[in-house]
């Protein structure tokens, strides 16, 4: 008998506690930046696509829901000709983000992806690309990689010496 009264009293007290329930969708929960939600493709500081089409995200994906085709533009930069994520398969594990050597693929704190039609969960590159550098501002893969592209020749990347003069014998 006493325990019943005690329980009722405790529940009564909860009326005066701070609410844990969010009145979604009018009210939204604040999410940490590292929340693993919707996947996006970010851009370089200069606005170029960060993705170089290395296929590592696709290989890392445990449900094989990423497919892409790499190609190269006239300036020597690799980019994905198409990049497709089937979100109806995605388990938001974040392995793709971990595998990405260029910080291109990032998981965002956005979870509002419900669709009535499953086909709408297939995102193409246009749907995935965002106009932002995401969590890693300032990073530009080609500034570090030894590959020459237009506007950045051999020896102009970070910590690179100018190209070797093959005809020189000076030590």
């Amino acid at each position: 008998m006493l325990s019943l009264v005690r329980s009722m009293w405790l529940i009564f007290l909860h009326m005066f506690h701070k609410r844990e329930t969010f009145q979604y969708p009018e009210q939204k929960a604040p999410l940490p930046a590292r929340w693993r939600g919707r996947i996006a493709l970010t851009r370089d500081p200069d606005g170029g696509e960060r993705c170089v089409g290395c296929y590592l995200c696709a290989a890392a994906c445990p449900v094989d829901c990423i497919s892409l085709q790499a190609t190269e533009d006239e300036s020597g930069r690799r980019y994905p000709e198409f990049f497709r994520i089937n979100f109806s398969r995605c388990i938001f594990c974040g392995f793709c983000e971990e595998a990405c050597p260029t910080y291109a693929i990032q998981l965002l704190p956005d979870y509002e992806m419900a669709e009535y039609n499953r086909q709408n969960l297939v995102y193409e590159k246009e749907d995935l690309l965002i106009n932002s550098e995401g969590k890693y501002p300032g990073y530009n893969y080609y500034n570090i990689a030894g590959l020459a592209i237009k506007g950045k020749d051999k020896g102009e990347a970070q910590d690179e010496e100018p190209p070797v003069d093959v005809k020189s014998l000076i030590p």
Binding site: Y55, V63, E124, V166, S168
Partner: protein
Amino acid sequence: MPIIHIDNKPYEVKEGKNLLEACLSLGLNLPYFCWHPALGSVGACRQCAVKVFKDEDDKKGRIVMSCMEPVKDNLRMSVDDSDAKSFREHVIGWLMTNHPHDCAVCDEGGSCHLQDMTVMTGHAYRDYRFTKRTYSNQYLGPFLNHEMNRCIQCYRCVRFYKDFAGGKDLDVFAAHNHVYFGRQQDGTLESEFSGNLAEICPTGVFTDKTLKEHYTRKWDMTSAPSVCQGCGLGCNIIAGERYGTVRQITNRFNGDVNGYFLCDRGRYGYEFVNSKDRIKAPMVRHSPAEGSNGIPLMQHIRSKIVSKKVIGIGSPRASLESNFVLKQLVGADNFYLGVSAADHSLVSLALKILQQGPVRAASLQEAAAADAVLILGEDVTNTAPMLALSVRQAVRRIPVEQAINNVHVPAWQDAAVREAVQDSKGPLYILNVLETKLDELAKGAYHTAPDNIARIGFGVSHLLSDKMPEVTGMSDQGKAIAQEIATTLKNAKNPLIIAGYGSGSEAVIKAAANVAWALHDLGIDAMLTFTVPECNSMGLEMLGGHRLDTAMDQVLHDAVDTAIILENDLYRRLNHHTANHFFKSIKDIILLDHLYNPTAEKATVLLPAGTFAESDGTLVNNESRAQRFFQVFTPGTDVQESWRWLLQAGVATGNASLAGLVHLDDVVSAIARTCKVFAGIDTLTPGAGFRIAGQKIPREPHRYSGRTAMQADVNVSEPKPPEDSDTALSFTMEGYRGTPPSAMIPFFWSPGWNSVQSVNKFQVETGGALRDGNPGKRLIAPNVNGHTPFFTQVPEPFLPLAGHLLLVPLHHIYGSEELSVHTPGIAERMPAPYIMLHSEDAKRFQVAEGYLLHFIENGHHYTLPVIINDTLQQGAAGIPVGLPNMEIAEAPQLIKI
């Protein structure tokens, strides 16, 4: 067999090997870079360090490079020793100091030996924080991409390109830590074997440029074991597919055939599979077949076959299965071999010689071990490129043997052996109409007309054996040459005689046979190699059928209603006028082919036939080795194997001889049953019912990606994966992950070994045969105890005829083959049409270099720009054969100017 102790465990190993080979053969993981089973050791990279101990009590030991240390009985060594391990880790750390941060955009990534070895040594983090050396790249032509920053200075590229393949335009430049591997200046790599650099290079300095156009990682490709269609040698390849197009051809090791290498035509000639000129749907009178006149396709075909006079024209570039089913469909009496008159005569003669003579056909690896070589009328670099690579090795055999005996170094001590050998060469004699790339290696190279080559050949055979006919009226020079060659061959143990379709002359082939047979009579273990024009020329000839010219006679006598043409462009087999006439006189043409070509224009019914990548089948190479190739992917269109189309036609027409044949195994066993020559081809590979541990063999690696997204743009619900009812391979990544039977290895991969170097794990010993034997089966055994049918008719010497020229065929590795020219890179390197004349002849016809020579042959006008070459015999004119814009189908022939 010596016993060595590795980490205190005794192992029995093979004598004469080095420790690295011994360890790898035992299945141990020991990292290496500069060593390659085909190139030997130089000890340049310092990566394969192990510790060797003096005896059981020696606890300190010393670090040695395992690739430079021979196997000794009771030797004690350690791979796992901590000093050796940290030495290896440091070495790779140093090698990586300048390696660029670009694996993500490197085409080698995922099949990179450097990645594998770095992981194997445990060098996981870069300690080096200073600046990196960089290099500028070079343009190396349409086949290879150059990225020098990735170089780790192992020297494998120059050792292969210069030392092994005889290339001249790739070298190492500069000094100390600035060494540069490239050309003296930008330009196309000239060697026909340059593509191998992509596999030889342990990292991404040289990568496949055609792959870069549609880049796919190795783990993402659906691959299948296949056989090259580029020439008659039948090199083994692996073809990889992604998103419905073929992406890359890589070498598939076969210890009897191509070993570790491929030629550039074979490696890059695959792009016709992806061509926009592909026939993708059946057509009836140039409109889509389904619903044409409201009649189903098979009814169209039925109406053209049933109660009609039908002939079938086979093809030397179609599989044995397709040719066999066509022969059954139309009946043996109505089956014609779709090859030109010259090719028919030459290949049937070569087949007769191999079947009836006592001398065996040499495999490519046997050819590489010959100690004397005589080439009659053949520019092997252009007619059978990989044979040229074998000849290059054969020329080194005697000097290397001498070096081993005199200097006492083992054969794998590559640098020491080369130092001892210097420029000395074994005997090689070349008789050809023109200079060839191999001339530089030859003891003697002589250039004259085909008939004169044959006469010298006959002269040699007469000097070897009195049974052979004497050649009368030979010039003193000819006599001297014959004498020199005869003496050399007599002193050899395994001489090799090479002839074939290159010269277009039967007399030359007969002369080659006579020489080989005469040597055999003397008790010498001679070998014969005949080159054949196409991948299944030999198989087609063994299957047997009438000559194409007799089909022409039939058609002209109005006795034919329908011709079923299998994977063949008759405009390449007959001259333009005859072919036009043929198509005009025949009512209906049913053509099965891959690409739109002039013959396809004439077809009433056009059926899309699968290329090697979309078909299963068997090919027979020039030494009569039958080899199976497997379908790489399901095309998703109406494209299917020719034999399947023809089987369906058989069902539609109620053909009794094809009743009950549905799958590949049915057709193969029907061939083995009906044709005695093909006995045993049903055991080339395990049948469709074969399973290991209850599982099929997957065509896709376990890391294959994108399965649930590849087709999601079409429909988010994944379709059922295609099933392979013909073979024991599956089109998925599910299946048995161990070593498959040697004939069905879809890709080389082993844990920790992602690159092509993992082939070590599939061999009985490094560089040896694949486990459970090299794939393929030789169908013809030499007829040792029979009567040798020597040829007795010596041709007359060639004399220039006033007002006439003898057209001799000139073959080009890039251009002479029909399908490979659809690769843009190969088309780029193809010569323009020309006619080659001796300067005296040019004077005679009042033309000079670059002028257009006009002549009429068979009512057709030809105009070709003139090239002058004085090596050519006077009275002969060289014309390139098989080039897309050349219309002359018959060479050799005498033409009037």
